[in-house]
């Protein structure tokens, strides 16, 4: 029980070095500023499963956004489609990347006043209770000269 609670409380920070404790870690996180006031934005990252079992991430939550959803962009004969996904399976001892033009986290209704450089966090929770936290500084799409 204690182990289960400890496992559930383990937090993986974006940018942590390999070998950090925790069954699920997050690396290479990029979170972009919303492009319009109260507009949509996106988070990309790599999720690393360090266990011999599959981890299925199915809940996404953030104090900085009213809603976080997992989506996938597909290109079919030049046509871009975006479909919501209910879960993200990460095979044993493997990594899955969320990246532009593929799977990504859609960040909706940000808290007001977010600025480039500000730290935001997103909590990921798997069906077995494993959690990870993404913490990243907001990036502008095109930094000013």
């Amino acid at each position: 029980m204690t182990r289960a609670i400890a496992s559930a409380l383990l937090v993986a920070l974006a940018g942590c070095a390999p070998g950090d404790d925790g069954p699920l870690t997050v690396s290479d996180a990029t979170v972009y500023l919303p492009l319009t006031p109260n507009g949509m934005s996106v988070a990309y990252m790599t999720l690393n499963n360090h266990t011999p079992n599959s981890i299925v991430v199915s809940e996404f939550h953030s104090e900085d956004y009213a809603r976080v959803e997992l989506h996938e962009t597909t290109l079919d004969a030049g046509l871009a489609r975006m479909v919501p996904l209910s879960e993200l399976p990460i095979p044993p001892e493997s990594s899955v990347s969320l990246k532009a033009g593929g799977k990504h986290l859609m960040l909706m209704r940000p808290r007001s006043g977010l600025e480039a450089g500000e730290l935001v966090s997103i909590e990921l929770r798997a069906a077995d209770g494993t959690t990870a936290e993404v913490r990243a500084r907001l990036e502008a799409r095109v930094p000013r000269d």
């Binding site: 507009g39 996106v42 989506h71 975006m82 799409r141 095109v142």
Partner: protein, 203 residues
Amino acid sequence: MQRTILKLAALSAVLGALLLVMLSQRQAEGPLHATLLPQPRELPAFALVDQNGSPFGREAFAGRVSLVFFGFTHCPDICPATLQQLAFARRELSESLPPAELPAIVFVSVDPERDDVESVAAYVDAFGDGIDGLTGPLEEIDKLTRALGIFHSRAPQPEGGYQVEHSAAVIVIDRQGRYRAVFSAPHETEAFARDTLYMIENT
């Protein structure tokens, strides 16, 4: 003295020949990623507005090469990713081209119901200089999408609201305001920069 002049003349001839060979090879290579139309196509007349609320019609394309992308401001992934690549390509080209020669980047909303002038203005501002954002009545937008082979359609979402499915191509309009070439997705910043430079120098 005469021998020196002869040597210089011979050297100049060799260098000139080399330059001609390099130029002809460069022209022969053509764009590596974009597809050039066999014949440029004239655009139909259309009436949209830019992010300042100023009229924007086909005549606004004249005078410089334009890279045109159709999308919507509620799109978090492929639309901003493509505009970001275009902005980085333009920035790369600014190291070798004078400002007047740089391509214009033009974002055209295919979701005018949600994308008013104000939201389009905020959206394109995030991509730096040299980008225009267009919106207007759907029937005016569709004069352009039909001419350029761009598809778009609403896709209702399970939680309510809708996304817009749309062609992810980037269209190249030449200095004469004609449809000249198309970049098909997936896109690369380097391909945008390299092929746009080719079209600026050769069309």
